[in-house]
């Protein structure tokens, strides 16, 4: 196949998939379901578009969805930021000396294996049912991939490069700044992308359980389900997934800019 055909194929294939999914969706809404069932369980795509995206009212259509998404998005981004700073610091501390890694790593694993739902009551008691708690939930979900990937990156620095630095009596700090950290960047970016996805999920889960304060997209989805506003429920779900995609692409772009000169992974990201 020529390069051009390949490029066209790359653009057309997902469009074909999209068309196929839409057809199946229409088929189920109109052929499998009757009108009553359709409006509750699977409204047709054009109804979702009309009522969910192209209705412009304070409490209907896209307005409340965007408002809620902004609340959740802010929580996710702040949570991710805190998780990044804390996670990198913890990884750097662990990398500093083996005994520190031995004493901290098991607890990082425990944080990861604890289901976030099991922690919800404790977070509620400590921080209340507000935005702070939602942010804490995000941090707890996002921090582990950042720690493990950063630590892996820091520790897999080339041995002969380390020797070069030893030869010139570089301090631990110089070594970290000029060698280990830049060499860990590709791994750190992989961790960030995983954490970003986790952080969005953490924020949406947080919306469900910590209900005080501004309404987030998770809470809105819950409300729409209870009120039987299925078209808007679909629209809200689509918007939240678009947000996740945007964050994923954003970090892909960031990593491309940061390491494109020298790392192969940067040429493969979307």
């Amino acid at each position: 196949m020529s390069k051009k055909t390949l490029r066209i194929g790359r653009v057309i294939s997902p469009i074909v998939t999209f068309g196929l999914v839409l057809s199946i969706w229409y088929f189920i809404s109109y052929v499998v379901m009757n009108a009553n069932r359709r409006s509750v369980a699977l409204p047709a795509p054009h109804d979702v578009l009309r009522q969910g995206f192209f209705t412009w009212q304070h409490n209907r259509g896209i307005q409340p969805i965007v408002r809620a998404m902004l609340v959740t998005g802010r929580v996710a981004i702040v949570g991710l930021l805190i998780a990044t700073i804390l996670g990198l610091l913890i990884a750097i501390v662990m990398n500093f000396a083996k005994p520190l890694e031995w004493s901290l790593y098991p607890y990082a694993v425990i944080v990861q294996t604890l289901p976030i739902l099991a922690l919800v009551p404790i977070i509620k008691i400590w921080f209340g049912a507000n935005l702070t708690s939602r942010t804490v939930a995000c941090v707890l979900v996002a921090i582990f991939p950042i720690i493990t990937n950063a630590l892996f990156g820091l520790q897999s620095t080339d041995r002969s490069l380390h020797e070069l630095f030893s030869l010139h009596k570089a301090s631990k700090f110089t070594r970290l700044r000029k060698l280990e950290f830049p060499s860990a960047l590709p791994a750190i970016f992989i961790g960030l992308r995983i954490a970003a996805g986790g952080s969005v999920i953490g924020a949406i889960v947080g919306d469900f359980f910590f209900r005080q304060g501004a309404i987030g997209i998770g809470r809105l989805i819950d409300n729409y389900q209870k009120e039987g506003r299925t078209t808007e429920l679909f629209a809200a779900a689509i918007v939240s997934s678009l947000f996740g995609v945007a964050i994923f692409i954003g970090f892909g772009f960031l990593s491309k800019v940061a390491i494109r000169h020298w790392h192969d992974s940067a040429t493969q990201v979307p």
Partner: protein
């Protein structure tokens, strides 16, 4: 031996035993003077790289004395060991940064070193954009910035093809004639050793000892055609025989 003021490296009765008790090097003594290229050839596992690492203080010896000014060492590894995220220029500046050379002095020395290895037109490229030979030149330039008195080479050109290896040998000699540092060169290649060196130590394995030392009488500068001279061939043959004896 250590009293000679021209010595830039002096190893006296060095022995090295691994923690499991296996002897690697047994009673090796050698010196390198300024303006002298000394090579070590020997079979794999004879401890020649370990000896180099001891000279650079990357590893401690078990007994014996190593006298060297570590500030004045240029160490060239088997791989170019460049930082892939730095441009050629920034890589060349690395060791100068680590040694806290600053400002215009550093920039001048970086310019000089880049010019010496002929990479002026490639300063802004990244290592992945360079050929193997060019990467090795960057690695050389990086050490040249420090104006070392002593260069330690650990089979630096073994990954290159023959043409590039010869070209880099010529360039190394040119640098050597220009800057008159001392060189300790570890290699597998007999012709490379004869072409570069004024003295060749042949090591044998288990434990590593210097089994023979061969003086190479050709003066510097050396021409590339020396490789095809009949007396060159004789010296290469002598080193090859000495190497073969270590294995019998």
């Amino acid at each position: 031996m250590a009293s000679d003021p021209n010595n830039v490296l002096s190893l006296e009765h060095i022995t090295k035993t691994f923690p499991n008790g296996a002897p690697v090097i047994s009673d090796v003594s050698l010196t390198v003077k300024r303006g002298e290229v000394v090579s070590i050839v020997g079979p794999s596992g004879c401890g020649k790289s370990t000896l180099l690492r001891i000279a650079a203080r990357l590893e401690p010896q078990t007994t014996g004395a190593c006298t060297v000014d570590t500030h004045g060492i240029g160490y060239v590894f088997q791989d170019p060991t460049l930082l892939p995220w730095r441009s050629v220029r920034a890589n060349v500046a690395l060791l100068a940064e680590l040694q806290h050379l600053e400002g215009t002095m550093m920039q001048t020395r970086v310019d000089e070193a880049i010019a010496l290895v002929g990479l002026q037109d490639h300063q802004d490229k990244y290592p992945r954009q360079l050929s193997g030979g060019m990467r090795m030149r960057v690695s050389l330039a990086r050490s040249l910035v420090l104006r070392p008195q002593l260069f330690l080479f650990d089979e630096p050109f073994s990954a290159l093809d023959e043409i590039n290896r010869q070209r880099l040998n010529d360039e190394l000699l040119r640098l050597f004639e220009h800057q008159q540092f001392g060189v300790l060169f570890v290699t597998h290649s007999v012709t490379e050793a004869v072409y570069l060196s004024s003295k060749i130590h042949v090591m044998s394995a288990r434990p590593g000892v210097i089994s023979r030392t061969i003086e190479i009488p050709f003066g510097y500068p050396r021409e590339a055609d020396l490789r095809f001279d009949s007396s060159f061939g004789q010296h290469a043959l002598e080193v090859s025989h000495a190497l073969r004896e270590t294995e019998s």
